[in-house]
Symmetry: D2
Subunit: 405 residues, 4 copies
């Protein structure tokens, strides 16, 4: 059996169907889609790709299923293949282009079913007797077995947490996944963690918390991604890019297209290339912003326009970024004790309080070129009716001193 060497998991075995699928252009494209979008602008080692993550996810799914005797070999094959293919529908820079693609094409994850049902992948699946529709359901977590791949504690997030930690160098991204996987099983169609895996599950939550604050929510990443996303919108509006082609692109295609854009896309490409990024005109938590601010999440463009007007700057110069309130889905994983099932945050006081600390990490941001920060910040506070921005000693504030600004 062929193997491939992965710096995270060591040797990963590739059976025949996996070898054939790896050779399709759809999977090879993932070699050129970075896992963490623009996080490498903060953590220079974070250049890893969806390709390795796909291999790693398949590897963990295989490990998990080794202990589950009740599953048919056919079904195990399906899950293994689904793990390998689960990210095949991702656009360039992963999540960065997701919302733009949806905005202009009104198409989202159903795409995966379409990709699996055509071309070389279709032929290979047919040869091995696997139905694309069933695969797509597994990927979406709509089947019972699909929980292995997509649920509160699944092999997808196990792989990316530990992988992202390896490439960023963040020490606490460690997850005791060997232990966790050995303690998982199905209990009446529910994928659960046995009580012997409680501590390993907690380690996953610590890792999640730590990676959120250090990496996933880092303001420099958020700014870069907002800039890239805005550039693509402009190129679509200006007729420089076909939104329906976007999902088939890789990172190279997108950057090359942006560089050759004559408009705003080109300007932002030059900024991203030279790391000449927008800065934070406003950056604040929920206490200061008030819960009402969340209602603006579907009126971002209007906010950008009006803040620009108030500040007397071009609309292109203002990016508004209001994320959903954070949740750590993993907390809802079920722990199986001698007597009953309980959710992880019930089983562990430690986990329950992590959620509390996690809420503190939420920030809304308004970004613009450095020279407009004062004017835009003032306008944004006025627009969102924010009285003051408290200078509290919070994790993500202090952390900004820690990496390249």
């Amino acid at each position: 059996m062929k193997v491939v060497l992965d710096p995270v998991h060591g040797y990963i075995e590739l059976d025949e169907v996996v070898q054939e699928l790896l050779d399709t252009p759809q999977i090879q494209r993932l070699r050129r889609v970075r896992q963490l979008g623009f996080s490498n602008l903060v953590y220079p080692g974070a250049n890893h790709t969806r390709f390795e993550h796909s291999l790693g996810t398949m590897h963990l799914a295989s490990m998990l299923m080794k202990n589950l005797d009740s599953i048919d070999e056919d079904k195990k094959l399906e899950i293994r293949v689904a793990s390998l293919l689960h990210d095949v529908g991702h656009g360039p820079f992963s999540h960065v282009t997701e919302n733009v693609i949806y905005k202009y094409t009104r198409r989202r994850h159903d795409e995966i079913k379409e990709i699996l049902g055509k071309g070389e992948i279709k032929e290979i699946l047919k040869k091995y007797g696997i139905y694309p529709g069933e695969l797509a359901k597994h990927v979406e977590g709509e089947t019972s077995l699909g929980q292995i791949l997509s649920s509160e504690i699944d092999v997808d997030r196990m792989d990316y947490l530990v992988r992202d930690a390896h490439y960023t160098g963040v020490a606490f991204g460690v997850v005791d996944y060997n232990r966790l996987i050995n303690q998982m099983s199905f209990h009446e169609d529910r994928l659960v963690v046995d009580q012997g895996g409680l501590k390993a599950a907690e380690s996953l939550l610590v890792s999640r918390f730590w990676m959120n604050t250090s990496v996933y929510y880092h303001h420099v990443t958020r700014i870069s991604e907002a800039m890239c996303s805005k550039a693509v919108e402009h190129m679509i509006e200006d007729g420089e890019m076909d939104p329906f082609r976007l999902r088939q692109m890789d990172d190279i295609d997108l950057i090359a297209a942006m560089r050759s854009s004559k408009g705003y896309g080109g300007e932002l490409a030059r900024r991203l290339d030279s790391r000449n990024l927008y800065k934070r005109a406003l950056y604040t938590g929920l206490e200061d912003a008030g819960k009402g601010v969340l209602k603006h999440r579907d009126k971002i463009e209007r906010a950008e326009k009006e803040i620009a007007e108030l500040a007397g700057v071009d609309q292109e110069c203002v990016l508004v970024d209001i994320p959903k309130t954070p949740e750590m889905l993993e907390m809802k994983a079920m722990i199986k004790t001698d007597h009953k099932l309980v959710s992880l945050n019930e089983a562990s006081h430690f986990v329950s309080i992590l959620q509390e600390a996690h809420m503190d990490n939420w920030r809304m941001g308004v970004y613009c070129p450095r020279e407009h920060c004062e004017a835009v910040g003032k306008a944004a506070k006025e627009y969102f009716n924010i009285k003051k921005v408290t200078k509290q000693f919070k994790l993500s504030d202090l952390e900004n001193t820690k990496v390249q600004e």
Copy 2:
């Protein structure tokens, strides 16, 4: 310059005075005093000694002082030597014998001053112009510089947390100590952590929390240590051991003495050797036990006697273990921001809630031979007036499934 290879820190440099001190019998004895007492009965790799910990502490102290230009070379030498010698007063099995020694000799840490002031150590210190009294003060954290060695966040606990993690295999014992050390400095006689080290300080707290629940408070360790401690008391009472000699012994002396004891000490030695340990007759948290139970901490012997009577068993068969309520001293470390000093638990919401979770780990225990567990458990509940023992899904309960019982 000579070096010695340490599995935790790599090469550790030994300057002349350190080399000479290492050759004294007092330091060589630490090679035969295990760092974690009986924790190796739970974590079989935990056989490391006070000797390596002393070297590691000295190494971290040197690293920390490299960045502190304002300290005289003379003073740096003092602190380095104090770090090396800080555990020279520990009895066999480290903390296990501490209380017994105090009970029968009424002597505690002041011992360190005495040890430093005689024999070969005295001669070496004299040769290098170091005063034993000053050293002792550093070790006790009574000087300003002594905070490096003994304060809320000191090199002593950095070394043991990361070392204990290495030898037990507990993954989350990691501390980002390089970062932490680089961010520490003196601010008006106070050793503080610069805000850039906040996250590293948090990592220390996570490590502390994790090691507490997994290792330091593990019930098997607590039972073994209670057994050993009780054995020594009996040997002293029976005239088989001189309490004033105890502190000079190493682990080998103590075990050999216990094995040759004709009384209860011998019996417990045989039990410890064959890992035939007492079991938990009662093990419960503060909600069930009530805060009043803490008052029994200075009447342990009476409790053991009366519970034994109630249960109709020999008094030797009952061990009562009521620890202090836990605190994580590290929380009080001072963080220096642009504007002011704040304590770590104020600076970090995450840290503040760890304290909460930490309180949950407190347990009192009553231990006895397996065959008496039912009777003793019943008697203990009666004696302490405990109505019920809630079966909650708490860390340390579930964790018992994880290691050899």
Copy 3:
């Protein structure tokens, strides 16, 4: 002081001049130049860049100079800056385009002097009183201090060996560089390793040997790089690319240009994108090929043309790859003993025999599309007058089973 987190070395400190240089487009471009060219087609984790390597090299240079008290602070600054900038002249995919650029522009490393002497870099250097010409000499190893950066055992190769190991996952790429760096010093203008660092130096050689056989000489990498290099040549010949612009490109520019090529460049781009690579028609060592084959190194094109004719295939289909005979420069590093200087391979029998084993890894190769392998292989043997290809159990032969073919 700002820091950046590196997965290999941990926190790397960035002083002011480094921060300013990092913001120049010339350094930012290195974020988009992969360190190992196409090695990620064999080791999927090998996506790291010249940018991180430059930071790492600077970090190690700083570490090394901390122990060298005799060097002026000014000179230390120069070397630090030279380390950061040493790869700024690399073209896309690092070494892959080196030879093509030289072939068409007749310009090689002198380029570095030119890059340092213009634009933003020039201004920053001027501000800090650093002369571009002096920097360039350091980079070329033409100054005494430049040996830190470019000599038999320099910080450049220390960083890339350990970094390439981290990202490929090859376990034996470990170098005990902390120890090595602590044992290096100048002895009469010669950078030498003290005898206490002998074992660490040996570890560097083992690492070098291991990385050569596993990574740097892997046939799949060699084939991909030969394909890319040939594509660029065709594009230059067809007027699709300006060879003088090539060195300023990043990987994205080059791939995008290849994809848009209408000729052979486009075809090879599609093959590389889908990992549909040429295969080995001939692959053999020096015993079989005879030393005479080395003379063909400067007549590669003629060989390709004639082999293609003999085999009756298009000339584009044949790639001939005859590397220089391998040497491990590190062997010539000087070790300083109590009495004299000796070279590493004299000081260590182990090292001297590594060179022997290393010669065995040399292979020449002739590559072509899979369907022509038989015909081309036959023709190549005829052309180079190779009687037989021995099937010996050599490292690199057997290793092919280990990774994706």
Copy 4:
């Protein structure tokens, strides 16, 4: 299933029979027998025990057998149990006492059969239907399956190489054992390594070579062990110790006995406790000593006596240490290629030359108290007819500078 946490392999699963065997005094005793004798006097972290090594060996045997479908479950159980018990016959400080025990009791490994056939172990084996005689054969490598545990490349040496590396901190002790184990299988009753595991097998040889030079042959270890061994002999001769009891002792028993010895044993105990060791009066390789010196291996006592006389010192002061010429048994492991079986040193040129380098590490030594070194060295050279001791720059000579002398 219960698990135990091992710092080297992570969680190790313990099935029922293993749990029962772990509770026997014979296995518990191994907790108090250090794996590396007195190596902790050089590498302070090397305090690990035969107990953890036994668990690790069992773990690797289980891993290896998972892939061997043709073996009966019954037989797998036997091998697992044999792996756990394989060191149960070791005396205190492992190999240190081996020769003395044999000298005075004429009993060697057959002991293992006796231990397995009595007491609690016998009862447990009986309960699970396992024959002690069969187990003993597996341990001795006399059965086909026993090769898993005892052959050229077995799980015993895999575990100890990687474990000794972890605890000493020697970086190159790494073995790619996961890969190696996955590539091992039986080929007509011969345990072989598939060609895909060649590189992993090479990694084992590098590790072996490195550990030999750095750890196993370190002169300080050899001196300490010679001292301990000599002390025991004296105690037996003086009637202070029963040689037949020796094998049942643990390290504590032995040290305690030595400390209470009134004769030479007591003196050496005090020296070992305070690390006041003998020094090298003579230490030289085979070129200088001549092959004839090997004939003295069975006349050590006579050599010690006569050298002492020549030097005019007490016989107790002279220790002669002439080891066998070194071999690396692992080289003879069989590699299975597509066509045939070849030995590892035939399959790999690299391995074949390692043997050469390895011969260079051989040293004979004559040790005595520091003050007699000159006289004893002179006498020893005369006695062994050694003309000169070349000062070559060999590994182990230079290495002496690296660790505490």
